[in-house]
Each structure stands twice: as C-alpha cells, then as structure tokens.
Symmetry: C2
Subunit: 220 residues, 2 copies
C-alpha cells in the first residue's frame, strides 16, 4: 500500500485550490466544467472526485449531497446573469430582464432542467422576478391578471429554452418530424424545409410578439 494499486487512472494532478486544498469552490468549478462539456448527468460525485484527484467521500466534507452541489452550480449561473440597469419603460424593462436570463441559460443550457423539473433556484433570481412584476404593475396589471402575465412570460422563456437550446440534434421527436410523409403531412414537410433554411433563432421577435399581447391589452 502507499504506492496505490494502479487506481482507475485519471487521478492525475491535484486541480483543487490555490494551496492544493480541496474546498467547495474547487468542487463547484470542477462540476461546472463537466456539466458544460458533457451535460448535467455526467456530474456524478464519483466523476467530480476523480476530476479533483480524491475519493468520492471527500466531497461530502464540503457539500451536503448532490442536490446541494447542483444548487451551488445554479447559483454561479445566476450570478453570471448580465442583469440590465432598471428602465422606466415597462417593455424595455421586461425585454431586458427576460433576455438576460434567456441568454445566461442558453449558454448553460444544462441548468434549465433542474430549474423547471426539480424546482431548484438560486435566491439571486429574486430581484429579477421582483423587477419584472413591478414592470407589469406599471402597465396597469394587478392581482390575478398580473400574476398570469408574469407566469406566461417565464413559461414561454423556459419553454423556448427547452425546445430550442437542447443538445439533442437527433432526438427521436426531431427525426420523426423530419421523416414525416409529405403526402400525409404537407404542412409539416413544408415547415421542415423552411426550418432547414433558417436557423430557428426566433426568441427576440417572439418575445416582442408575446409582450404585444401582454402589454397591449392592458388589464383583462
């Protein structure tokens, strides 16, 4: 013992801290790197431990469990949101906030699933939500109507992120749509053709159309 029995390889250099010590920040950084290159499912306790050159159990000294680690990762993403300065114009305010969150999550698309599926979230998002709600108040929306408008906006943003910015270029659903018979489904075949021409980046204009509906109508 001591020489190690030819461990599973990959142990390598101690990435870790500046002083060679393992701390939470180093763990989160390693986990983020893996999530960005290979997706969140690749972030296993064993894999991150290997990445840092330690045993899986050493991680539990610094994070309570895997969920806590993912939460910490989401906090870093939230901290990276380029929150715009407040605007007095409600449409500009909402456009700025929604676009900033959308941009951050389009880059770190692995973060979308734990946010919507597990209901994870960083407290850093609270100021953004508060400003969005305040902007809706300024256009005359209150109570249930304001809440409905708020939910609708975020629901669309996350729906867009899930459908468009997902690293499954050849998922079963997409293949199915592409293979749809032009005789039976002429509109689908036509849509597939236009989709292959245009790169499907419709978020900015769709967001404006959505804001048309939300802001244009006023209350009710």
């Amino acid at each position: 013992m001591g020489v190690s029995v030819a461990g599973p390889a990959g142990r390598g250099r101690p990435l870790r801290n500046g002083r060679g010590l393992l701390d939470r920040q180093a763990i989160v950084a390693a986990a983020l790197a893996v999530a960005r290159t290979e997706g969140l499912p690749a972030v296993t306790m064993r894999r991150i431990a290997d990445e840092l050159g330690c045993g899986p159990m050493s991680l539990y000294r610094h994070v309570a469990d895997r969920d806590a680690l993912v939460l910490e990762m989401l906090d870093v993403v939230a901290a990276g949101i380029d929150v715009p300065p407040p605007s007095p114009d409600p449409r500009a305010e909402l456009t700025g906030l929604l676009t900033a969150v959308h941009a951050a999550l389009a880059v770190d698309h692995w973060a979308v699933l734990p946010l919507v599926a597990e209901g994870f979230a960083s407290p850093r998002i609270l100021p953004v939500l508060d400003r969005a709600l305040a902007a809706l108040t300024r256009v005359g929306l209150t109570g249930r109507a304001r809440l409905a408008a708020h939910q609708m906006l975020w629901q669309y943003v996350f729906g867009e992120l899930l459908w468009t910015h997902h690293d499954q270029p050849d998922s079963l659903g997409k293949r199915m749509v592409r293979a749809a018979s032009p005789q039976d489904f002429p509109a689908i075949a036509d849509a597939v053709r236009t989709a292959s021409v245009h790169p499907a980046e419709n978020f900015p204009e769709n967001l404006q159309r959505l804001l048309d509906g939300v802001l244009g109508g006023g209350s009710r």
Copy 2:
C-alpha cells in the same frame, strides 16, 4: 430451490395477460400505473417486473430497453388525446388542438419531461402538428413567420405544463419565493398573496392572449 428463498416480497399475483401470459401490453399498463401514482422515476425495470411477478430480464423479451418502454407509454398518452374535429376558423382550430394536448399532459404530467428533455414523441402527434401549421397558414403566415408562431405556441404550452402542473408542491424554488422578504421584494410578496387566493389556473385565458399576439398581427 423451488420454494424460493423468501424473495423480496411483493411478487404476488400474476397481473399479466388474460391468459396469464406476459406481453408488451401488460408491461406498458403496469408501467403506466406506476408512473401515474409515483412518477416516471419510479418506473424501473426491476419495479415493473416485481409488479408483474417476474424477473427483470423477462421484460426484455417484449421491450428493447427502458427507453422503448417509456416511448410505448407516451404512445398510450398520445392515443388518449381528445383531438377535436377540424374547424374552419383558425383560432378555434388552434385553441382546440392546443387545449386537447394540454389537457392530456396535465393529467399524465409525468410525460412532459421525457417529451421536452429527451425529445421523445409518439407519431400519433403528427396529425395534430400538421393541423396546427395548416391553421397558421390560413391566417396568412408562411415560411419563417409561420414556423416561429408554431414554435411559440407549443413552447408556451410545455412551459406552462412544466411550471404549473408539476407535483412538487414544496420545491426549493417555490419555498424561496414564498419566503421572500416583503421589504426587499414587495412585488413578489404581493404576487404570493394573490397566488394563495386564486388557484393559478390561467392556461385558457393566457392561451387566448397568446393567440391574440400570433393571429392579430397577421404576417410579420
């Protein structure tokens, strides 16, 4: 052997087929029952096998793997969509189609995640997609604008399903929002108050507002 060494219990009655035989339909039915009561993560090969009183490997005679089983389950959900008869009015047509899909997935909410996250889908949905695209054509939308409108509609529907119809009543995100300080985040605190009064069923009216934006504007 033969008496079984006190197996993990739960083997019980052979649910199975009418003639006591194991077939694909019985497997899918058992998996659906588990998914509906305990969620999709509870649908493991071992669990379904236990439910049917057989070993895990017996399932592989009838389904290729777990993904194929989930796909079969989604096919049953798609078959259950109460697709409305065609309507000449585009708004009525789109409302009917989107509402039907939304209703089916609000009941089987476990199905939403594999649809959006893994890109799974049943071919049964193709006629619905084709009719929706055709309705958009009838209001004068073509090419990229039509595709953008189509995506926007479905993205909203799935975003709504993920945010609202998820069986996490006490997710971290929801708790965080409820616990938001009224001094720092007055608009959030106000929204939480109105949300506790009204049961947050905004899909029908939000869909109409979305259709206002999509259909009202016409092309571009």
